[in-house]
């Protein structure tokens, strides 16, 4: 079956996606993987100082982000959300300029450590380091959507370790009370750095907590991309139609160390590491699409070339962009102009620069 044929395969039909969409999903998963691998190469080569990786999480991220409306809905991502950011509109150049901390890095203009993504243009909330705080921001966004009647949905992502933070409890409770258009995605990879699930929580599934707040909690195999998509579509639809929040827990695997600063062999056995490879979403999704006749050799070659070109381009681009100008480091602690309206007649343009005291 030719890809240019717009008719859907059985696989696509079953989940309501066209073959083009399936291939685009696959491209995003594969692109993220390639970009992520490139980051490690650049790190090993001393070009970028730090990598925190999404390898193993990409399938779930692409599929769960997919049902959202770009530049309308909102996402509060976390440090592993590379695939989510790409799916929601950021480009590989955007991702790599964040790694290189260039002046034109859209996430932070080179102010943050690598991995702290964000884009005002794409409604991706700026990532901070303290885990789980972003959940409340997404919920506040959902509250504003409801109060303002904007028909927006807000989604947030984090690891299972982070889901134990107090903010998560307070937020889920609030979201459920107000039936906010909100989806909480837990990417459960079984570890919080070195701490295994069994020491992070006494239950198998974070999703088992959802009921206690009054929202559905769904567990999904994060290496099953189409199942992730199905579950997310349901959750986003429910959110948008006033049915309230949903918790989705995707069981994923962390194929790398926690970050480029971590040595995971200290706490994970070789056998475990080997067996986890079987849970990689990329080959599984690929096989599914090949079996369904969607991912032909031809398409795959084209995608491969395309991805390589895009990753190379992003690398070269980021390499060549200038550093932030040191003199700008003092800017934007506060507003420096009055952005929302002309200063009112009585002239309280406080934003007219409260020169910081030095």
């Amino acid at each position: 079956m030719a890809v240019s044929d717009r008719s859907a395969s059985h696989l696509g039909e079953a989940v309501g996606l066209s073959d083009e969409q399936l291939i685009e999903m696959y491209r995003l998963v594969a692109l993220t993987r390639a970009l992520d691998e490139r980051m490690w190469v650049l790190n090993r080569a001393g070009r970028i100082p730090f990598v925190i990786s999404g390898q193993g999480h990409e399938g779930a991220q692409v599929a769960i982000t997919w049902p959202l409306r770009k530049q309308h809905d909102w996402v509060a991502p976390f440090y592993r959300s590379i695939a989510t950011c790409l799916t929601f509109g950021m480009s590989p150049r955007d991702i790599l300029t964040a790694q290189y901390a260039t002046a034109n890095d859209p996430s932070s203009g080179g102010r943050q450590m690598p991995g702290h993504y964000g884009s005002r243009e794409h409604n991706l909330v700026s990532v901070s380091s303290p885990v789980a705080t972003q959940l409340l921001h997404a919920i506040g966004i959902a509250l504003a959507a409801k109060v303002r009647g904007t028909d927006q949905v807000a989604m947030t992502f984090m690891g299972e370790g982070s889901s134990n933070q107090g903010d998560v409890h307070e937020g889920l409770n609030f979201a459920a009370i107000h039936k906010l258009p909100f989806v909480f995605v837990v990417e459960n990879n079984g570890y919080a750095i070195s701490v295994p699930s069994a020491k992070e929580l006494a239950v198998e599934d974070v999703a088992s907590r959802a009921g206690g707040y009054g929202m559905p909690g769904l567990v999904v195999d994060g290496s099953d991309v189409l199942e992730c998509y199905r579950v997310a579509t349901e959750a986003v639809d429910r959110a948008r139609s006033g049915g309230g929040p949903t918790l989705i827990e995707a069981k994923v695997t962390r194929l790398t160390a926690h970050s480029s600063d971590d040595q995971q062999t200290k706490y994970r056995s070789e056998e475990e590491l080997a067996s986890e490879k079987a849970r990689d979403p990329l080959p599984r999704f690929r096989a599914q699409l090949v079996d369904a006749g969607i991912l032909t050799d031809h398409v795959e070659q084209r995608l491969g070339a395309d991805i390589k070109a895009v990753v190379d381009d992003a690398t070269q681009y980021a390499e060549s962009q200038p550093d932030p100008d040191p003199s700008t480091a003092m800017r934007w602690v506060y507003a420096e102009e009055w952005p929302s309206e002309a200063p009112p007649p009585w002239g309280f343009g406080t934003a007219g620069g409260h020169a910081e005291e030095h």
Partner: protein, 322 residues
């Protein structure tokens, strides 16, 4: 101009702005039907309804974190923390998130929100209903901190705070809510952030205070005037950004400086003011910059006729049953 209590001015400030700007919401514990435990939001729920006046669960971090998100998506939240003492569970959201969102996103995002909280002693609140918490926040780049001392300033500064495009902490001395009255114009007016007020002119000594202490400083200045001492009094009004020029101008004129604050002395906000004056007005000083502040114990000790007496509730009542 009609005379209003401090809390009336605050309530009016919120109501006026809410009428003017539909993007303003009020949220916090008991701010709805009950109108807040001090009644600062009394009537707002009746006027503006469930969507704009939200009784939250008993969860401060959620109140602040949700406000941040709501600000990101187009609202201007005015959050109430029931007592300043209970702002601590939200410390991370305030310091790591609200304060840094603009900076960390290179001005991509902003976070226009106000956090109101009653602070201060003198109401028998003991360890957990009498704290001054401003020093924790005046230290944080990205936050603004306002402490008004008159009804006029309270309303005018609240308006400026709500319209400001950065997070503002607005602390209200709870002992002043009903005990302080003053004139408040009916029309729209604003008091700019970042400007101190010289509330009494003088030549021999500068006394710097804010909140309730701004009143005490004035009283003290009147008292020593009888002894021929001419004290200038400055009410800071905004603690961050500090109006350094007004402070330094005054001290350069008087040559002496006393900084008064109610909070624990060690590491309190007045330490920064004193340090600035000591450094930048050194050549003008003819005596040490001195500080008068709360002692370094949890909770509040109050000056009483017999000396420092612990501010706790049983006592007073028993001496003076009403």
């Amino acid at each position: 101009m009609p005379a209003k209590t401090f809390i009336e001015a605050i309530r009016e400030g919120m109501a006026d702005e809410m009428r003017h700007d539909g993007s303003i919401i009020v949220l916090g514990e008991d701010v709805g039907k009950k109108g807040g435990v001090f009644l600062a939001t009394d009537g707002l729920w009746a006027e503006f309804g469930d969507d704009r006046v939200i009784d939250t669960p008993l969860t401060e971090s959620q109140i602040i974190g949700t406000s941040i998100g709501a600000a990101i998506n187009g609202l201007r939240p005015v959050a109430e923390i029931q007592f300043a003492d209970f702002i601590h569970p939200a410390f991370n959201q305030l310091v790591s998130e609200a304060a840094r969102l603009r900076y960390r996103s290179n001005n991509g995002y902003s976070c226009p929100m106000v956090v109101r909280a009653p602070y201060g002693g003198g109401v028998h609140g003991a360890l957990y209903h009498s704290q001054s918490v401003e020093a924790f926040f005046t230290h944080v780049p990205g936050l603004k901190v306002v402490i008004p001392s008159t009804p006029y300033d309270a309303k005018g500064l609240l308006r400026s705070s709500i319209r400001d495009d950065d997070p503002v902490l607005f602390f209200e001395h709870k002992k002043m809510y009903r005990s302080v009255r003053g004139e408040v114009p009916d029309g729209e007016y604003a008091v700019p952030l970042g400007r101190a007020a010289v509330t009494r002119a003088g030549t021999q000594l500068t006394v710097i205070g804010y909140g309730l202490m701004a009143h005490y400083a004035l009283e003290a200045a009147e008292r020593v005037a009888d002894d021929g001492i001419s004290a200038e009094v400055i009410d800071l009004r905004t603690l961050r950004p500090l109006d350094k020029e007004s402070v330094l101008d005054s001290v350069r004129k008087t040559g002496k400086c006393l900084v008064v604050y109610e909070d624990n002395r060690f590491g309190g906000y007045g330490a920064e003011v004193a340090a600035i004056v000591a450094e930048e007005a050194f050549d003008y000083l003819d005596g040490p910059v001195t500080r008068m502040a709360g002692p370094d114990v949890p909770g509040v000790l109050q000056p009483r006729p017999r000396g420092l007496v612990h501010d706790q509730p049983g006592e007073d009542r028993r001496r003076d049953p009403d």
